[in-house]
């Protein structure tokens, strides 16, 4: 069993999870798609990815593998193969889908089998997806997967915190499913095709920080925790879309799926000094301290750290080891239960007033 709250509770834990971008292809054409996916995208090489997952053992494995895309269910056999390997070592499989298959009255057999092989299906639901697939068809798919005995959740997007669409869809989901379908609710970002959305272009830019140690310079990054196998085989230490799309950032580049293994990647995620500092204090503080500068964009501040050729040495020594240790210990001690961790995550990375919906069903 893998609930949404289990996953969110572990999201900030280094190497607790592994994200696999199964494909960049997707048959839907959602106007906000962060990955700009079309049916012309590339697939992750099966052989090297399977070999990588074969390297998991019961003693050394991610707790969760998250299959994403594009649309991972365009490759149902690959999903089944990954799931089989994960199940053998007790790694749980999460899959994020746009539910393209729910356009048909019945779920096609290969996809049905793939869904039976995973532990948790997360489905996207927002006004853009609803232009591709009706809400009723989304509910049909959720019903079908719940009936398989699987955990499901929804990833719902609105324009902003006050978007009435969110209230409407949350009411609909809770009326239909009670507390059986937890929801992670956040806002559309100007990434991928989302860059073209007029409503996002009108948003005022975030405040540019002042020089020196600005008020928001301490801002730990929880995303530099789970590695990502990108569809081109690169393995990155972060799921930032520009990096996943191919932007070369030295300190976030961990290797290639064909030439490394889980043990090495896990080790790097856990001990790499730059990643540890990013998780402890975030990129803005590191930028200010090392001279690569403050950036209006949180993630660009991180990317710019690699402007320094000696990024590993310089950034890695910004936070003395004892302080780093105390900060990491604080992070672990802060919450004594998974629901609090999950709600904290949903609150910070999603829409605060709906954060509690991430733990429904527990």
């Amino acid at each position: 069993m893998l609930r949404l709250a289990d996953m969110l509770a572990m999201r900030a834990t280094p190497a607790a999870g592994l994200i696999i971008e199964v494909t960049r292809r997707c048959p839907l054409s959602c106007g906000h798609c962060s990955t700009s996916s079309t049916m012309r995208g590339s697939d992750l090489d099966s052989a090297s990815a399977l070999q990588f997952v074969e390297g998991f053992s019961r003693e050394n494995r991610p707790a969760i593998v998250s299959l994403t895309g594009g649309e991972p269910l365009l490759r149902p056999d690959f999903v089944k193969s990954i799931s089989k390997l994960c199940n053998a070592v007790n790694t749980r499989v999460h899959l994020l889908t746009g539910l393209f298959f729910a356009r048909s009255s019945r779920i096609p057999a290969p996809i049905n089998d793939a869904l039976r092989s995973i532990d948790h299906m997360a489905a996207s639901l927002d006004r853009f997806h609803e232009r591709e697939l009706s809400r009723e068809r989304v509910f049909f798919a959720l019903d079908a997967v719940l009936e398989m005995g699987k955990e499901v959740s929804l990833q719902i997007l609105g324009y902003d915190e006050s978007d009435p669409y969110l209230d409407d869809v949350v009411a609909d989901v809770t009326t239909r499913f009670g507390d059986r379908v937890p929801m992670l609710i956040s806002s559309v970002r100007a990434i991928g095709r989302g860059r073209n959305l007029e409503i996002l272009k009108r948003r005022s830019p975030s405040k540019v920080g002042e020089s020196g140690l600005s008020a928001d310079s301490i801002s730990p990054c929880s995303m530099a925790a789970w590695p990502v196998i990108c569809s081109d085989g690169r393995i990155t230490g972060c799921c930032n879309q520009e990096v996943v799309d191919g932007l070369r950032v030295e300190h976030l580049t961990l290797g290639h799926v064909a030439t490394t293994n889980w043990s090495l990647i896990r080790h790097k995620m856990s001990v790499d000094p730059v990643l540890r500092c990013l998780r402890a204090v975030g990129p803005r503080f590191l930028g200010e301290r090392t001279g690569t500068g403050y950036s209006d964009s949180y993630c660009h501040a991180c990317h710019r750290l690699s402007d320094r050729e000696d990024v590993k040495e310089t950034v890695g020594s910004t936070i003395p080891a004892p302080l780093l240790e105390v900060i990491e210990e604080l992070a672990v001690a802060r919450f004594d239960d998974d629901n609090a961790r999950a709600t904290g995550f949903a609150d910070e990375y999603g829409v605060s007033r709906f954060a509690h919906l991430a733990t429904l069903g527990r």
Partner: protein
């Protein structure tokens, strides 16, 4: 580090308060005790480590603790999308 996570969490809560941080600079143990930390439950090595921190390090630790207290340790909205957004 401490064996008792609750006491460590209390240390975080204490250092999240700017007034305690000021006191901490002059009297680390006294400041923690005044903030309700049971220092007898905190290993000596941890106390030594805390007491050895430079003022700027205490400030950084305190800021992280403030964020941890108010929002959880996850504190910044980046444009990460891999798992959060399809």
């Amino acid at each position: 580090m401490a064996d008792d996570p609750k006491e460590i969490a209390k240390i975080g809560d204490a250092l999240a308060r700017p007034a305690i941080r000021k006191m901490f600079a002059m009297d680390p143990i006294g400041a923690l005790e005044r903030a309700g930390v049971n220092v007898s439950k905190v290993p000596e090595a941890t106390l030594d480590l805390l007491a050895s921190l430079q003022p700027w390090e205490v400030e950084v630790l305190g800021r992280v603790a403030e964020l941890a207290k108010s929002k959880g340790i996850q504190t910044m909205k980046g444009d990460h999308v891999g798992v959060i957004i399809h």
